[in-house]
Amino acid sequence: MIPNQSFPTPGPLDARGAPGTERWTALPGGLPSQVQALAGDGGVSDAELVRRSLAGQQDPFAALVARYQRRAFWIAFHVLGRAEEARDVCQEAFVRLYRSLDRYDYARSFYTWFYRIVMNLAIDALRKLRSARASSLDDLVAMLPDEREDAAQAPIERDEQNALVWQVLDKLDAKFRAVLVLRDIHGLSCREIAPILKITHATARWRLHRGRQVFREHWDRGQGEA
């Protein structure tokens, strides 16, 4: 069997080669050989795969899934912070993609269009998750004594640091978190983010600016409390 290849026709995301992002672009294992070959064929563009899918072939769509499923999953995961929900979002995104393939505008980049579907679903899921959590846990949490009051003044451990970051991300407004994830974790530029979130470039920049500020404020405060 051919080993997993890296996605050979990089979108702007992949061209950057931000450290650690290769694993988000590798093809999944266990693909049928013809799907593997199609997905790994740099000469076959995403648009061509869309065209062939619309002609009723299944392998080209499987190849599109193979090219984008990892990135879609990880973006959803970083927005949601939960693997199970991210999986659902990713699956639903491909279902929606499949149903709306005939609306694909060949003049535009495929990944922008597809990531917009992913982000819409992920942000929706995040909001639902939060409102569910808010109604079920917040009252309870408010009644619990703050464990950290008894904690020693020792420097916080790495795990705690990381936990703090996720707590801060969980507090961050969905629209800031979306930009932060796309830019600071996935390395997209604001020009790429804007069409994905259907906002202007200026708004994308402002949200990034504000998102970083808010993130840092919460993070500083969290560290001070620890």
């Binding site: 999944p28 999953f73 699956q91 499949y98 005939d102 640091q161 993130f215």
Partner: protein
């Protein structure tokens, strides 16, 4: 030009004190800002805070990512997605909203047909249908009732015949219609002259069980 001082630099720090892969911060005279940061301890500390926060974010994400069994998950996810897509394929084919409707395949077929039309075409079709309906309605009214008050279908005397039901009229032109017994002059051939409209539009032949009981010709 605004001097590059603390007041100028601080608001820029969230954008500057982070990796800038495509030089988006370049437009904010980054060189002068960097020169200020070399000299100003306060701004440097502030920038350092953003850098540390950004690093903490990436570290925390990487740590949690590592805990996800990615390869197995992706393989499984791929199979799950393709299984779902195969279901849709069976229902409706690619590029179509799958309509799961209690109304059955007719509605599904309509939804599919409608989906295949760009919305502008739908609007144009709707407008054309309304226009046609309006013209048809007017023509029908013209055919039935043209000639003013005297010949209006509403103003005529009732038909002097007994009928168990409405009379079926088969006009020479135009759609078939039913005459309620409102009194059209009917000749001995069983033809009704409605006295409306030009040409054959106003003539219809009655085919009803009451042919035998037609009133004597006038």
């Amino acid at each position: 030009m605004q001097p590059v001082d603390c007041a100028y630099v601080r608001p820029l720090l969230p954008m500057l004190a982070a990796e800038d892969p495509d030089g988006e911060a370049a437009g904010t005279c980054a060189a002068q800002v960097r020169a200020h940061l070399r000299e100003c301890v306060g701004c440097r500390a502030e920038a350092g805070g953003f850098l540390r926060a950004g690093r903490a974010l990436r570290d925390a994400v990487a740590a949690r990512d590592a805990a996800v069994p990615d390869d197995a998950l992706q393989q499984d996810l791929h199979a799950a997605i393709m299984a779902r897509v195969a279901e849709i394929e069976w229902q409706d084919g690619p590029g179509h909203e799958a309509v799961t409707s209690a109304y059955g395949p007719g509605v599904l077929g309509f939804a599919r047909w409608r989906r295949e039309l760009p919305w502008r075409h739908v609007v144009a079709l709707g407008a054309a249908a309304m226009l046609l309906a309006a013209i048809g309605f007017w023509a029908f009214g013209f055919w039935l009732g043209h000639g003013g008050e005297r010949d209006s279908i509403w103003s005529r005397q009732p038909l002097q015949a007994t009928s168990t039901g409405p009379l079926r009229a088969v006009p020479y032109a135009g759609p078939r219609f039913e005459l309620l017994p409102v009194g059209l002059p009917i000749d001995d051939q069983g033809s009704a002259e409605s006295g409306v409209g030009p040409g054959m539009m106003g003539r219809g032949r009655l085919r009803t069980p009451i042919d035998e009981q037609l009133p004597p010709p006038r």
